[in-house]
Amino acid sequence: QRFRFCGDLDCPDWVLAEISVLARISSVKLKLICAQVLRELLGEAIDYEKILKLTSDAKLESGDVKAAIAVLDFILSSAAKHNVDGESLSSELQQLGLPREHATGLCRSYEEKQSSLQDSLRAGSLRLSRLDAVSWRVDYTLSSSELQEVGEPLVHLLLRVQRGERGEPEAVPMAVSAEKFRVLLAELKQAQALMKTLL
């Protein structure tokens, strides 16, 4: 059977197995654990101690606690990835054996954070490089070894490019003559106009 939150594929076996672990936690505590997992997905630190305290009633082994966090992580991020609404997620989870109260609580937490989750996932999507900053300077060349009276403007551009996720941005300096710069500017303006039509 296909599930929307799994991207219209079968539900992975391990998810099916761990849903029964989730059912052993009370629905109130599950909602709180959900909130913690959502915080982590949104880039904040996870409070593992808190989760341990919340799961202590259900007498879960440490392996089970980690599995519960992993399955919640999967369900929430996968649902956001495939743009599944709270209602559909709730009914699919119930089909997989999660009790109704648990599913409703989980999906309510999900709905609150769905758009922030999707924004965060969008920001984390593959990017090869990123323009960090642009700085420029206009000079006027008076004279050179080749020609005594040059009298031409010259643009110095410094682009800072972030390659990959870590490290310092790379500095790419270049000097552009007046004509070349006019061409560059015209082309970039055309590209910008095209981008505006898409927004």
């Binding site: 999507s125 593959l126 090869l128 990959g164 082309e187 590209a191 095209l194 898409l198």
Partner: protein, 190 residues
Amino acid sequence: RADLTAVPLLLVSAVGELGHLAVELLRRGAAPKACEAAARKLSVGVETVQHGVEGLMYLLTESSKLMISEMDFQDSIHVLGFSDELNKLLLQLYLDNRKEIRSILGELAPKLPSYHTLEWRLDVQLASRSLRQQIKPAVTLKLHLNENEDLTTQVLQTDPSTLLHLIQQLEQALGEMKTNHCRRIARNMK
């Protein structure tokens, strides 16, 4: 062998301590502080302790590597002329730690870069400087590889039809596992 002659000079109970140090050496590498502490406890020189530990470690790794039986292990250490009690302790040390030592040794083999994760994105090129009004889909892949604890990345780009061909080839490769030839070999390996 010379290292192991140091062992009976120490109390029999100390073998437990040295054995523990030897296994720790295998797990994590040298621990000079632990050797010093042991040397003080047994009132012998640090050198003696280190040689003893290294000797024990060699004995354990070679035995585990070759997966020798109890009988063979006992015959081997019998040559060293230790007391029966010491022999029994060494045998117990070997049997207790054999599995773990074998798994550590297994990880020391050289490895090819292995798959870590794959990021992808699907883009559509709508226009370029030379040509407007295009529709050109492209898939960009960033393959993350794990090469001996070093994470390296490889960026690739392809069009959808090449990607489909790639998927088809990979599925064919997986399908090979189900042929009679592969099944026969897999059965014989077990």
